[in-house]
Symmetry: C2
Subunit: 460 residues, 2 copies
């Protein structure tokens, strides 16, 4: 911001036209007549203030300073906007950010609308809910996703989404832990770790932060890391089906992972946000693996299950048997974090979540998921027909396309420039993603088909 701009904003500092309860009629005027305030005396900034910007004496958090560039997805959105400025008439198709596009089934939205209306009645009004979520929602999550797995209702914490819970988990762990993460993986794990001060600085040569174990997942190892090569982490973030590679771990692999955690006394944070996309018999929950309740937390979300990316609802499971080294239950501290830093998910979103888990809701969710899985097949087929090696897709709404020897950001730019299709560069998910592009299957069918036509034109 230029100094002139700064002056312009400071000059307008004056008393607020904020509504005062004692004064109904003039307030309504304020709202409808934005010019009313012209007569209010202005406070003029002193020339001194305008010439040298005032700085506080508070130091910037050095962990924030370690972060590289912006968070990946806003950065993609920024590049998309820049592209639109350059080509205002282009029909841009977004297969980048992994954002759901299909309408939410009515059985679910009706339940939310009903809850909203009920808030206008004496009987239906509710204020603060339990920070951990409404009991019927916790109960429905337990019985739908964890039936027979020994997960109890009070092990489940309902939230405004898995991404938000990941940060709350990082607050819980604090700064004195060392984490391991699949490479590539969803960037929120690493970025929140950096923010919490768990890492060293960013090492440009290897494109990694210090004090994080990057567990390489690539076609050579079947996208499951060689656990014997990493030095003991406290926390292992593990996402399956994986974002971005789309790989779903097998029962044998997860058994190996749980055993590794047991042997090393590590805690697994298992992200199952895409489990509903699994076609095969891969486990949908880490708690299907015997012994996992002693070493694992699971986080998941309605975002990709029910198109709730904007509605916001997720959950995290912290079993009572998961204990810190001194024997203190992790769940007790997570509960304290949730109660102190959060105030529960929106009651309307929770009504939606409950409807998702009704028999009709479950079927409706599956139909939308089935639609996205057809999209996935179309994208996989397209890239395979063009001779690319393609991974993912079968158990996840993401297609992981290999461009050997090329820079992901170069391929991202080439595709955007030549086809007006937004994808996500693999290297945005970690150095192990270099040479790959993630194509999201979230889109209207005609956009998926059109994008595939353009891919064929570009790469035929």
């Amino acid at each position: 911001m230029s100094i002139t701009q700064k002056l312009a904003t400071s000059i307008s500092s004056s008393s607020s036209s904020f509504l005062a309860p004692s004064n109904f009629s003039s307030r309504r005027q304020n709202v409808s007549l934005p010019t009313k305030s012209v007569s209010i005396p202005k406070c003029v900034a002193t020339p001194q203030e305008a010439q040298t910007a005032y700085k506080t004496r508070v130091s910037r958090n050095e962990n924030m300073a370690k972060l590289q560039a912006g968070y990946l997805f806003p950065e993609i959105a920024r590049r998309r906007s820049a592209h639109l400025l350059k080509y205002p008439d282009a029909k841009v198709i977004s297969l980048g950010i992994g954002d759901t596009t299909e309408p939410i089934p009515e059985v679910i939205t009706s339940a939310m609308a009903k809850r909203a209306h009920a808030l206008s009645t004496i009987e239906g009004y509710s204020g603060y809910g339990a920070e951990q979520g409404e009991k019927p929602v916790r109960s429905a999550i337990a019985s739908t996703f964890y039936s027979d797995l020994g997960i109890e209702i009070d092990d489940i914490f309902v939230s405004d989404g898995a991404k938000c819970d990941i940060s709350r988990l990082q607050m819980l762990f604090g700064s004195n832990v060392k984490m391991a993460v699949q490479d590539p993986s969803y960037p929120a794990y690493v970025d929140s770790s950096v923010i919490m001060g768990q890492t060293g600085p960013y090492l440009k040569d290897v494109e990694k932060y210090g004090n994080i174990e990057y567990m390489r997942c690539n076609p050579e190892n079947g996208f499951f890391p060689d656990l014997s090569t990493i030095s003991r982490p406290d926390i292992v973030f593990f996402c399956s089906p994986n974002n971005p590679t789309g790989a779903a771990a097998t029962r044998e692999q997860l058994t190996q992972l749980v055993q590794y955690a047991k042997d090393n006394g590590s805690v697994i944070v298992y992200d199952s946000a895409y489990a509903i996309y699994i076609s095969g018999d891969n486990p949908r929950s880490i708690f299907e693996i015997p012994g996992a309740k002693e070493v694992a937390i699971e986080t998941s979300s309605f975002s990709k299950y029910a198109g709730f990316t904007g509605v916001r609802l997720g959950w995290t499971v912290v079993p009572k048997r998961l204990l810190f080294s001194g024997g203190f239950p992790v769940a007790k501290d997570f509960n304290r974090i949730v109660c102190t830093t959060f105030n529960g998910a929106s009651n309307i979103s929770q009504a939606g979540g409950l409807a998702c888990l009704s028999p009709e809701g479950l079927q409706a969710m599956q139909e939308v998921v089935g639609f996205y899985k057809e999209n996935t097949n179309i994208i996989v087929g397209t890239f395979e027909s063009l001779g690319f090696k393609v991974y993912g897709g079968k158990n996840a709404p993401y297609v992981w396309v290999h461009f050997p020897g090329r820079s992901s950001w170069d391929v991202f730019s080439e595709i955007l420039e030549k086809t007006h299709v937004v994808t996500t560069p693999g290297s945005g998910f970690g150095p192990g993603g270099e040479g790959f592009i993630r194509v999201s299957a979230f889109g209207h069918r005609e956009n998926i088909l059109e994008a595939c036509r353009r891919f064929k034109e570009l790469y035929r």
Copy 2:
């Protein structure tokens, strides 16, 4: 949990009945027939597991261990439940937690219901919104509450509530800052500071955490701290109208506060969650004070404005001119925090917020606020008639009643035991609250009247 219980839960570990997309009809059966899974082979825990609880090697976060007891309000809820167990037939009235009770005006809930229904249409569906909030909502907040104050749309970050933003601000500041806080004050400031590692251990003798400046606010100093007695803090949390004392700072006092921050290079986090309850001409925003944009952040909420305690919507203002000591804009780091640890407020809640700020919505909000203010007058009148010294009430929905020489928790228990009315003990807000009780004015009229009748019986 007993070892037998542990065994019982571990015995049921087995494969999940989680929905598989390939298998529609049997899935629906699963959902409606919870007994289906009986035939699934069980995984039996080894006797070894049952006898000695497995512990990970991850140390408990030492900051979490510093926290005293539970977060205040869940603790109050716990005591309320215990009371109900003891007196199952008692008509308990809750004037404790500060939870809104009156229905949300229909103009607001209709907008939310409409948005919910629209999510079932192609045109009305929206997925991920901007992490910072929808533009029309940011714009309406700017023009309604900050008109003429030089606050721009992109200075405003829409959130799921002020409490959640307080924690995000603490993540932004990190562990190497020293904070000051009004004593007494809303416990989320101190507790989130402890969690982030900004403090020393809890000092039992003074009932304070180390490395926090407690700024005593009491009747003697008109509930405004003597700033000359505190040693320089980096961050000053300041809530006005104050929770719990109900005191609203005057323009002169806030001018003094801003000057103090300027002189010391401190950052003010100004919590204006109760500003709509101000009756007099006290400032509604810190940004009414000239120069505040260089030293202050403001956080606020629709919770107490529109009964959104369960709907969840708030906002935080971080002016671009607020700079760290090195010149880096605080807003840029806050934006990074919001993008990394949060995914935006629910789109349905945002539709509600927008409706709140329409002319009809503003008037409807004011009517509900007016109702609670009448409640406040009834409570103030009751305690005054009983000879108590009463503070707050005029500019806030909280009445701060003095019981000189008595323990707050004792008075809390006495009132609960003898009148079945839940209040909040003043000492729960810091040592400066000892000897006081906070009575919330959020309640149905008949409950407020009945509670006051019982107070009169107890203390006449």
